[in-house]
């Protein structure tokens, strides 16, 4: 039991953009343990695991399995050595069935043809063996997130995985689904599998892990037995200080309505009613939080009101002025700012400089030059000012954004969106992939802008974040608002979980209070 099954020794990885993600990291796991790999976002956990899974090649360092030095050049090599990985973002083919996904590339054959019956039978067997409740014939696109994750896990097990890497498996799960997953992980452990569990949720790790390795700034801070550690000592090693403090905020004093959404519906690319007759309003000086498991219409909802999506029904107004289906430029002019959930596609142009990224929404304004001309002087002073105010760590605002860490990239986005002093700020997953320090900073800024009289619409999959920041709270499920709490203090995490899973729904009249 105390033999090291897998050893990674002195792993160093430098990305093409110059970020040193791993710096001589040592990491080892034993047979039959659940080993937590913990650290802030950008600490290098995912990089280390991607190296183990053969997706990246390290600049230096060796990997040993059962004492034998091996080279992992591709995920295929990793699978051959019994390493399986469940990614944070699932790698499944949505249009194929559950069984087809599990056996992708290793389908059972009969006379050279794929034997679908046998495949479904085998999928059922393996699901039963591990006590997984799945439907092998269902299309992956139609099943809930929790089940998708199970499909991913089964896929890895069918591939012969002895070591299972789970990259933030609970990030997309409700509290109830998380419980179920933990139960299953314990079963795996009994069956002799080894699990590497990446997370940054202290509570969960404490609950199921045997040992823990903590990473910070691309370095390993050591491996410890779980029973020797308490939450405080872990967080100290992880961030070098105590965990996120709750943001200090006064009681909200909501004023008149800024953003009003009337009967909004939209059908997404899969032909699903992604948003279903939503009524909602956000007032000056309040933060309205939207909780919900991802994929319940939040993304489409934000795309509609921010103008990225135009094919929807219903009306949207900002400060009494209808803005639905107007150009994004006009919607922004009406006072909307938008922190996108997808930083890399929408939030920044990575090849462009920081200052180019800071001015992209201000072309119609004199603050970067009169008329059609750019004033480099004005841009320079504006950029320097924003870099300073928003604590963007860089050597100069002329640096390309690609050289910044995730947290600093997000600060660039936040700086740009805050600079115009919006009437309504839409913050969609504002702290995703952002380190604790930057998260705290962004939270503070959101409260600050609220206190200055802006309306804030906060969408987050992170329950702690919504509960912490929101003044009032709505829950999305299946494209509908299923619950509304005028005061977010009146609800517990557990209760929210039930609404998020669609197990409960408030009566219409309470929900109507939102619109």
């Amino acid at each position: 039991m105390n033999e090291d099954l897998l050893v990674m020794s002195k792993i160093t990885k430098i990305y093409p953009n110059g970020v040193m993600a791993n710096d001589k990291v040592d990491f080892s796991v034993r047979t039959g343990e659940i080993h937590a790999l913990m650290g802030e976002n950008g600490a290098g956990k995912s990089t280390l695991m991607n190296i183990l899974y053969g997706e990246h090649q390290p600049e230096e360092g060796d990997i040993f399995i059962e004492g034998q030095k091996i080279k992992i050049n591709s995920p295929n090599d990793a699978i051959m050595h019994g390493i399986g990985m469940v990614h944070q973002h699932f790698m499944l083919v949505p249009s194929l069935s559950v069984a087809q996904n599990i056996y992708l590339g290793k389908e059972p054959r009969k006379n050279g043809l794929i034997d679908t019956k046998e495949m479904i039978k085998q999928a059922e067997e393996i699901a039963r063996k591990y006590n997984f409740n799945i439907l092998p014939t269902a299309r992956v696109a139609d099943i809930p997130v929790g089940m998708k994750q199970k499909v991913e896990i089964l896929k890895a097990l069918v591939g012969g995985a002895k070591i299972l890497i789970l990259d933030e498996p609970t990030a997309v799960l409700t509290p109830q689904e998380t419980e179920e997953l933990f139960h299953e992980l314990k079963e795996f452990k009994k069956k002799g599998h080894t699990i590497i569990f990446i997370s940054h949720k202290l509570k969960e790790i404490k609950q199921i892990c045997d040992r823990i390795t903590i990473m910070k700034n691309g370095r390993s801070m050591g491996t410890y037995n779980m029973e020797d550690m308490d939450e405080k000592s872990i967080s100290r090693l992880m961030v070098g200080r105590d965990v996120i403090k709750s943001v200090e905020k006064k009681r909200a004093k909501p004023g008149e309505t800024v953003l009003k959404v009337e009967d909004l519906s939209c059908i997404n690319e899969d032909g699903k009613h992604a948003v279903n007759h939503i009524n909602l309003k956000v007032r000056r000086g309040e933060i309205l939080g939207i909780a919900g498991v991802e994929g319940n219409g939040q993304s489409e909802f934000v795309e509609c009101i921010s103008g990225i999506r135009k094919d929807y029904k219903g009306r949207v107004s900002i400060c009494g002025q209808y803005v639905d289906r107007l150009s994004i430029k006009k919607i922004r002019k009406a006072g909307l700012s938008h922190i996108s959930e997808d930083r890399m596609s929408y939030g920044v142009a990575v090849e462009a400089s920081i200052s180019d990224n800071l001015i992209s929404d201000k072309l119609g304004e004199d603050m970067i030059g009169h008329g059609p001309i750019l004033s480099h002087k004005k841009i320079a002073s504006l950029s320097a000012d924003l870099v300073d105010k928003f604590l963007i760590k860089c050597s100069s605002y002329k640096q390309p954004v690609s050289m910044l860490s995730g947290g600093n990239m997000q600060k660039v986005v936040v700086a740009r969106e805050f600079a115009r002093e919006p009437a309504i700020m839409i913050a969609n997953q504002p702290s995703r992939g952002v380190d604790v320090g930057a998260t705290e900073f962004i939270h503070k800024k959101l409260v600050e802008i609220r206190d200055n009289g802006a309306a804030v619409l906060l969408i987050s999959a992170d329950l702690n974040e919504v509960m912490e920041l929101s003044d009032s709270l709505a829950v999305f499920y299946g494209g509908e608002v299923v619950a509304y709490f005028e005061d977010s203090k009146n609800v517990t995490e557990e209760e929210l979980g039930y609404y998020m899973l669609g197990l409960m729904k408030q009566p219409e009249d309470i929900i109507l209070g939102l619109g």
């Binding site: 953009n17 040193m20 994004i328 922004r332 990575v350 001309i373 390309p400 050289m403």
Partner: protein
């Protein structure tokens, strides 16, 4: 990796691409020529051997600068349109038609003649530009097919409306002598179009880097989704950058006609649009560097020309050089390992610095 190193790397990779291309060409010369040393010598020093040949290089640069700039503007927005080729041809045609069909005083004729070339060049880009902006029709394919239409359109106009039956070959009537761009260096054809070209270099550079519209073009090229989300009208940017490209290429056609020819005589595209893409790639899409890229291409053009006349190596060898350069510079994996090593070294340097400070 800081900006300086990045720029250095880009510069070096262009140089290495050129060197590889030249080496391959030399290897071919060695194989096909009976007198390879002589051939090489004329290739390298030929363009500088007489005043006339130096003149040839500079004349050759002029159309390349125009089409190079046109390609830069479109490439910056990641629009890989070939419309520059058709616009160049039709721009020249428009100028010829205007000057032959309307009697105008010299100075307005020159101005109008060149402007109409640009305008018609811009109009050429309307269809492929609109199809791309509105329905995302691949601009490369559409413009390539549209170029054939433009080519036959040109032949049609030339044969039916402006052809001079008295000329010994298929060509238009003589363009009035007083509207031509005069040459200003004796014994060469280096004409005042050079100044128009250089003026356009300055103008395009200012446009790309000092105006909001130029900024929008660059941002759409870097990340169209980001641009749209920021409120930039990506439809207008995608559409307009192709029209601007067509306009500049059309100007180039007019200038080339008025500077170098007595009659309009192209029955197929002279191919400057494609050369412009090579120039833009050599210049890393920076309009300010276009003259350098144009000079290089014009130089090896004249070099192979001299070589072809003096030895047995055919003119086409220049296409090999051009092809290899395009291939190597546009292949993103070219030298990527070296680049990664540079990145690692620069990270290590930075770490050392931090340690020293601490």
């Amino acid at each position: 990796m800081n900006k300086k190193r990045e720029a250095l790397f880009q510069f070096l990779s262009v140089l290495i691409a050129i060197a590889v291309a030249l080496l391959v060409t030399f290897a071919i010369i060695l194989c096909v020529s009976d007198e390879p040393v002589e051939a090489l010598k004329t290739f390298i020093t030929g363009p500088l051997s007489t005043k006339r040949r130096i003149g040839n290089v500079i004349e050759g640069m002029i159309p390349l600068i125009f089409t190079g700039l046109a390609a830069c503007v479109m490439f910056q927005a990641k629009q890989f349109s070939l419309i520059g080729d058709g616009a160049f041809l039709v721009g020249a045609l428009a100028t010829a038609v205007l000057l032959l069909k309307f009697q105008l005083p010299a100075v307005p004729a020159l101005f109008l003649g060149i402007l109409i070339g640009g305008a018609v060049g811009g109009i050429c880009a309307v269809i492929p530009g609109f199809l791309k902006a509105k329905w995302n029709a691949n601009e490369f394919v559409v413009s390539m097919m549209f170029n054939s239409i433009l080519e036959y359109f040109t032949v049609f106009i030339l044969l039916n409306y402006i052809r001079d039956p008295g000329s010994g070959f298929v060509a238009s009537y003589l363009i009035p002598e007083n509207v031509k761009l005069p040459s200003f260096i004796a014994k060469t054809n280096v004409h005042t179009g050079l100044f128009i070209a250089l003026f356009m270099v300055v103008l395009t550079t200012l446009f790309m880097y000092k105006t909001k519209w130029g900024y929008s073009i660059r941002m759409v090229g870097k990340n169209p989704r980001f641009s749209r989300y920021s409120g930039i009208n990506t439809f207008a940017v995608v559409f307009s950058c192709q029209i601007i490209g067509g306009f500049i290429a059309g100007l180039g056609g007019s200038v080339e006609l008025l500077g170098m020819y007595d009659r309009f005589q192209w029955q197929s595209t002279p191919g400057y649009g494609f050369d412009g893409m090579t120039v833009a790639i050599l210049a890393a899409n920076n309009p300010a560097l276009v003259p350098v890229g144009a000079l290089f291409l014009a130089y090896i053009r004249v070099g192979t020309d001299v070589m072809a006349r003096a030895t047995s190596v055919p003119n086409e060898s220049v296409s090999i050089i051009q092809g290899i350069i395009m291939l190597l510079i546009t292949a993103s994996a070219f030298l990527s390992k070296t680049k990664h090593k540079m990145v690692i070294r620069s990270v290590r340097d930075e770490q050392k610095k931090i340690k020293e400070v601490a």
